[in-house]
Symmetry: D2
Subunit: 342 residues, 4 copies
């Protein structure tokens, strides 16, 4: 059985990544691609790398007949996303890639994103999309909220450790190094090749990055008490990849054992041998996440490192993995592409 798929916000990088992955999916057919600003264009004129595929032209969202759609991937900007999803027929399953339905507490939404949430009834039914930890809920969900790409990376490193109680909850520092496609197809001076290449810098320093809302929500829920991490992202001159270097206090071996046990049966989360470190280049273009654990020379300190591709495991690959679950397909369908190196 072939599922009919629509992608809203298809002219951005996460949209293109969904099309790339679905291209070899055995049971999905893309029936609509929407991008309001580029409606009317052939998709190959927006993304020439996908010209070999038979794809519908870009349309406006209101031109789509949603009765003919089984599942929608929604890659719209936050705030826009909530009003669009609110208006969709309830018969359509939705995987949202925006930030709109990630935070369960409306006040947290206001705090991190500003402005009132306009679709709280949808928020109430939304399932947080970190597949490996919400798998059963996702299977039964109509609306899944894709996680932030940084938020996913940090959670893969930390959730099992907080759950197991093997680290000091008040001494967690996440230093993230993000590639530029995470910023989307935004026209900003600092994202130009001439400015970004050959240089790197921190941003959203001091605990101001919005993905902290997700960390706070998830980590506090697991711990059963407030947990606040320090989180500093950096922008590095590469296109795909997130590398989290997580500084924790606890026994390195216990940390390693906890992570290895947690992910032993997971296809996409791979724990490296103790002391080995991951690299973003080794997950590029794939749905895999590599995790490493090392002890520090200072007793009782450890470093957990995690690498994934922000466009794949960090957003569109995660979205497809969730869609597979929602549609009753093999969870891995369309996602076993090996990383592209060099």
């Amino acid at each position: 059985m072939t599922h009919k798929i629509a992608i809203l916000g298809a002219s951005g990088y996460t949209g293109a990544e969904l099309v790339r992955l679905i291209a070899t999916h055995p049971s999905m057919e893309i029936v609509a691609l929407a991008a309001n600003s580029k409606a009317g264009m052939a998709y190959e004129d927006v993304f020439p790398h996908l010209r070999h595929l038979a794809l519908p032209d870009l349309v406006k969202i209101e031109e789509i007949d949603f009765d003919n759609v089984d599942l929608v991937f929604c890659g719209l900007p936050h705030a826009t996303s909530q009003s669009v999803i609110k208006a969709l027929p309830k018969s359509v399953k939705v995987v949202d890639l925006s930030a709109d339905f990630r935070l369960r507490d409306p006040e947290e939404y206001v705090k991190w994103y500003g402005g009132q949430h306009d679709a709280l009834e949808c928020q109430a039914e939304a399932v947080y999309g970190l597949t490996e930890f919400y798998r059963d809920d996702i299977k039964n969900a109509r609306l899944v909220a894709g996680t932030g790409c940084n938020a996913a990376t940090g959670q893969y490193a930390l959730r099992p450790l907080i759950e197991a109680g093997v680290i000091d909850l008040d001494q967690i520092i996440l230093d993230l190094k993000c590639a530029v496609s995470g910023a989307g197809r935004s026209l900003k001076e600092n994202l130009l090749h001439a400015e970004l290449s050959e240089g790197y810098h921190p941003y959203a320093i001091g605990g101001t990055h919005r993905h902290l809302g997700e960390f706070d929500q998830e980590f506090s829920a697991i711990a059963g008490r407030p947990v606040k991490v320090q989180f500093t992202p950096h922008l590095v001159p590469a296109n795909r990849g997130i590398l989290a270097t997580v500084y924790v206090q606890g026994d390195a071996q216990a940390i390693y054992d906890t992570l290895q046990k947690t992910y032993a049966d997971e296809t996409f989360i791979q724990v490296l041998p103790f002391g080995k470190v991951p690299s973003t280049r080794h997950v590029r273009g794939s749905n895999f996440c590599h995790i490493g654990v090392s002890g520090d020379r200072i007793e009782g300190r450890a470093i957990v490192t995690a690498a994934l591709d922000n466009l794949t495991k960090g957003s569109s690959g995660q979205a497809l993995q969730n869609a597979n679950l929602m549609l009753g397909e093999e969870e891995n369908a369309g996602l076993m592409l090996a990383p592209c190196f060099p």
Copy 2:
């Protein structure tokens, strides 16, 4: 039915690319990976991006039981390749990625590669591996000689034009821009990131690049008289890609029509609308080749541009496409991965 595959020279980039492609191939199983200098190592220690695959450890070639192998991909250096292939049992099919069996005239081999050829009897049965032009011979071949990656790119642009007689055979200039993975995993100062990135230069200037041997052989055979092209490659700071800018004299529309007609039914060779230009970024990681044709402001001049990924369509993808034909599989099996952009 699953075909048993061995890869010799598996520690280089073309070896890793073969493993990447075969990872999602429906009917191939890798039973042996050989790399003499790294024999004994786990493959994931050489290429950590492929760690999710169940693969045999690296061995020496002489450790392989070739009775248990249906087809060998041979990615060894030239000269080494001929002596290894010569010694293989005749029951094994071979796709060679080296230069050893590309030139039919032994004197041409000596001229371009130096030293006598040591396996002329194998040379005699080898089929030149440019799939779209040698398809029937490849289906029946035991030994296929993969083409040079630059040679493939130039031939996709020029073969139909020479065949059709629509260009001046004495005024052909190929200006190629090659990415660095074409140089292999060689430890040379000029291939270091610190030296290569942020700069570019011509090399093998003046008609000294070995792939000219292939151009001479193939173009002269098509034309029925000697054809010598000018060919200047340049090394650019990117990892994957070849872009050929081919300057020809002839009618641009006739040139376009010829190319379009020739490739109308080819899956992997895509002729863009007249006047459009290809980009290496739009074929990255895939088996596609994009071709563009433009007229110049000077009457009677045209520019043909062609882009492909040197590791895929230029070598390992081509090799797999040929192997599919030799084994009676779908020609496209394992090769429909969409390009990875951004």
Copy 3:
């Protein structure tokens, strides 16, 4: 004696490059920096790499007291440039970096740039700014028109050869590879790091690039008859650099001798030993241009290669070199910085 300098269009890359070079100039003082869209900002907020310099804040052009200015560098967009320069007091010397005063024939301006020229009286007095060939005129000029960066590169390779009559004037092909800073600080999708890096492509193909107007004007004047070259630029993933690969028909040794003799006493134009090729990485950040000559395997063909930094020798370095001449300073003042490698 210190010359008082104003830079108009100071928020672009050529503006920043002028400031970088003037930073170590012994006899220039920057008294005004103008950029209408960013007027009021501190210069270090626009270009933090220049924060160690004591510089005036950005202002609007009309805020500048030009009585207090000896020389203006004008890095505004074309068309804007002509109306601004027209309005400047005649006591101020001007080096224009735009295209507005490069073409002496008003019809050629209309043909390549569209729209009527609005300052033909200024055009009449403008001197074309290719220093090595217009040195004496530049010394006495009030208004110098900086050349196109591609136009400069091609002319360094070809002018002496056309002058000496050692090449076939009807068989000249310039294949250029340009780095991205040549496109300026423009917010375009294809200039984003995520899109540009790791890929390359031709643009303005078929004889449509505006710098052809300069080639036509200059080469025809030298030859005493119309000369039309083929010119195809390519955009490569690097920030600084232009590499011209020029295919000509003529005797390689005569070509080499001509270039070497022409540039023997030039500080910035360096002819490499015969057969050697230049690289953009070896001129990065400097005012040098490296030129190589090689013969082809085809008798009577040669390849001339030239590399320079588009922001330095291709625009701002050239502009400073011209300003030095106009102000009676040492031609090389502020320009002897060695290239920055790696």
Copy 4:
């Protein structure tokens, strides 16, 4: 007066960087360039970007007449460096760029570098080369030991804070992001463009990087008690630059005030306005170090960020700054080049 300079180990990147800087130095003349493996070569054949300079050919160290040399820059590998420097006449001043004379305690040398130190008598007279903190000793030194490039970056961020007692000495985490030229011109697979570009990873994780020896020595001396920091370097795909993100516990404003006061009169160490972050791209090719301070959302935590160019302020620029002091020249001579951006 012109000082006669010899550079040993001139075929590496720090050697080339010294030549680049000295190129515009008003009172230094390079009289000898040594590189044993490339002795006999013209320097322009090793570093074509410096071909415009009149430089001596490369020689072996033993060919140099040190009676004719005022100061030697020694850029040899550690261990080699000590035996060479030991044998130099005492009349020659020496700036060593290796690790050999950085650690005052011979046991620490053995611990971090392995093997006995062979020139302890030279070690005894060596001054640690962090200019801003050892300026007076350097002026009178015969032998100065250049610091590690990572060690310099971390110390600029932390020394004043430890001295002032405004941070918790037991909770210091340095997360460093290093560009690839710091690894030198070494032929290693992971430094190839095809491998390094487009990916990044931690290395020497867990407190094993040798520059920790310098941190331990210096920080403990300042504090008057043992101080051990956590230090994790990462390799990012850029050529020049070190970015330190330093996580400390203390009052952010007090930290900011301390740094600003310490560096108020320093030319090269620039403290940015509170809350601003530095970027490696804004110090590229220059001797400047930019420092930023931000508070975290967690009370009592702060982040200090520091960026410099590893080849300039991190090694060769520092070396030249020290040599200027040793020779009685202006400390800034040859070092005021503005950063090269874009």
